[in-house]
């Protein structure tokens, strides 16, 4: 403890770095950025799904959706707490979300246009998120790894619920099935983009992947995770009777994987840089909730101070 060597040894032996351990500043900053982005994604992710709470077409689905959006708030909290162990605080991170210094997952810049989108988010977006997150349960930073274990457990539950919602539509009327197909058409490619730009082969040069892997934060490349996701999801689409919107998608027996067509990275970068359908709306919604709640948070803090000083007074 206290020696520079501890960190290297911990990481190289697949041990867990804990908050009290020394760690390189770059490692700390990378983690803060990544955990914050992850937390922000949970919080912003409440909006596209929250959009359907009032309109859910059955009370059972309304309850499931309410519980899911509530879980996302919970995930946000665990993750902000994990980030706080690295010496930042939540309000600082929220400020950076609000002023654009920190990002959230670009997938949430797409709108939820039909009820089937709620299912598609569970099936595809949560599915992709889990693929990204399961390896993080073995992340070198202990608090993050432990938060991810809890998050992943709940996310798999959400993913199954999303699939089940779509399965119900797939057994439904023609219009329900059309709604399902349409949602798959719109969410498939953005879901594939969630793994980030290519980081193997030529594209490996200059990215963060290598360093993150060395630090035990990242375990698989974006491309490997994306392939795993495609391999997992195509059979599920078959079960739903959905045609995924990729004419190049086919089983490659030689590789033992599904081949898939080229991803429109121009769209990815465009949306990431602000020209997505909902970028402004998501941040404006979040900022307005934050600003409208300022007086409440101030009151809670003033009241806590009063209570503390009263109990001090009583003691004195």
């Amino acid at each position: 403890r206290g020696e520079g060597g501890d960190f290297e040894r911990l990481v190289s032996t697949d041990g867990r770095v804990e908050p009290r351990d020394e760690m390189p500043d770059a490692y700390r900053q990378t983690l803060i950025r990544q955990i914050a982005q992850h937390a922000h994604s949970e919080i912003i992710g409440m909006q596209p799904e929250g959009n359907w709470i009032s309109r859910a077409p059955s009370l059972r689905r309304k309850a499931i959706l309410l519980a899911k959006v509530q879980d996302e708030a919970g995930h946000g909290l665990y993750l902000y707490s994990a980030a706080e162990t690295l010496g930042v605080d939540r309000s600082e991170l929220l400020d950076k979300l609000h002023n654009g210094q920190q990002k959230y997952s670009s997938i949430f810049n797409y709108p939820t246009l039909t009820w089937a989108d709620v299912g598609a988010i569970g099936w595809l977006v949560d599915g992709a998120a889990i693929m990204n997150q399961v390896p993080l349960c073995r992340c070198s930073y202990g608090p993050y790894a432990r938060a991810m274990i809890r998050v992943c457990k709940e996310e798999s539950f959400h993913q199954r619920q999303g699939f089940e919602l779509l399965w119900t539509l797939s057994r439904g009327t023609e219009r329900q099935r059309a709604m399902l197909q349409d949602a798959a058409n719109r969410w498939w490619w953005p879901a594939l983009m969630m793994f980030g730009p290519p980081d193997t082969g030529e594209a490996a040069k200059g990215g963060h992947t290598e360093q993150s892997m060395a630090w035990g934060i990242k375990r698989f490349s974006n491309d490997d995770l994306r392939q795993k996701f495609v391999d997992m999801t195509v059979p599920q689409a078959d079960k739903l009777g959905v045609t995924l919107p990729d004419p190049d998608l086919r089983w490659n027996a030689e590789r033992g994987h599904y081949d898939f067509g080229p991803i429109d990275w121009d769209e990815f970068w465009r949306v990431l840089k602000g020209d997505g359908p909902c970028n402004e709306e998501r941040i404006a919604h979040r900022v307005s909730a934050h600003e409208e709640g300022a007086w409440v948070r101030e009151a809670a803090s003033a009241y806590a101070d009063k209570l503390a000083s009263r109990s001090t007074g009583a003691v004195a």
Binding site: I43, M46, P57, A63, A73, S288, A289, E298, A299
Partner: protein, 258 residues
């Protein structure tokens, strides 16, 4: 309305009022998701909404059994028109600021607390069961509202003023909670229900104790009082709430499952 539109069975009509209160309040609370002052509060309001939705579902299902129409919870929630909803105006009131919500929740949970405390001995076993479960939930709701009214009332000068204003704005909706209808009387006679008027003093005493401790004042007698919700006479906000809640369901009349 009782004679013409409401289900013939008194018990069903009585339960429908309780169910609609919970359902419509769920809609309003759900609007807070992603809009609360802090993330913990998104979670708390989501929890309360879920509890109320659970009450609504159990009660609506029971109504469908009793009234002879064979409607399930969804038929009752999605396919009734505005004039057939029996909730009080308090719960349909459009979402205001967080102070308004805590004032509404304090009154509503104090009302529900007294209500369900008594209904655990209802002669309708389903209702008695719902009440037994709900009482634990409502105790938490009431405590949650209490804590916030204390914080806001005794927080900053701004929050004190805003919390007082919120209590004043909610005041016109309180009386309806404790006003007996013919259905209430019949349901009480049959041992199913309880007279709302008999809940008034305990609920009001609780609210008053919170308001006092929060350094706030109980509002003066309001100039106007909401009325008629139990007879399906609502405010103009109700139609918009139902349009939103029912639109997708009604847009798929041939869908049998979601």
């Amino acid at each position: 309305m009782d004679k013409t539109i409401a289900p013939a069975d008194v018990t069903a009509t009585y339960l429908l009022g309780l169910a609609d209160d919970a359902l419509i309040y769920t809609q309003r609370l759900g609007e807070w998701m992603s809009r609360a002052p802090q993330i913990e509060e998104d979670m708390a309001l989501g929890n309360i909404a879920l509890d109320l939705l659970g009450q609504a579902r159990a009660l609506l299902t029971r109504v469908g059994e009793l009234d002879g129409t064979g409607r399930d919870e969804d038929a009752l929630a999605y396919l009734r028109d505005e004039r057939e909803f029996r909730n009080v105006h308090l719960v349909e009131r459009p979402r205001g600021d967080f102070g308004d919500e805590m004032a509404r929740l304090l009154w509503f949970s104090s009302y529900q607390f007294e209500l369900y405390s008594q209904l655990t001995s209802s002669t309708d076993e389903v209702l008695a069961g719902v009440a037994a479960k709900a009482i634990k939930e409502v105790t938490y709701h009431r405590d949650h509202a209490t804590q916030w009214v204390l914080r806001l009332g005794d927080g900053t000068p701004e929050s004190h003023a805003r919390m007082q204003a919120a209590l004043d704005r909610v005041a016109p909706y309180v009386d309806e909670l404790f006003t007996d209808t013919a259905t209430d009387e019949a349901a009480t006679t049959s041992g199913v229900g309880v007279l709302p008027s008999q809940l008034r003093s305990a609920a009001t005493a609780y609210v008053r104790s919170v308001v006092d401790e929060a350094t706030l004042a109980m509002p003066a007698e309001p100039r106007r009082r909401a009325r008629g919700g139990r007879d399906g006479i609502h405010s103009q906000a109700m139609g918009y709430l139902l349009a939103e809640m029912q639109h997708i369901h009604r847009s798929h009349p041939d869908a049998t499952t979601w």
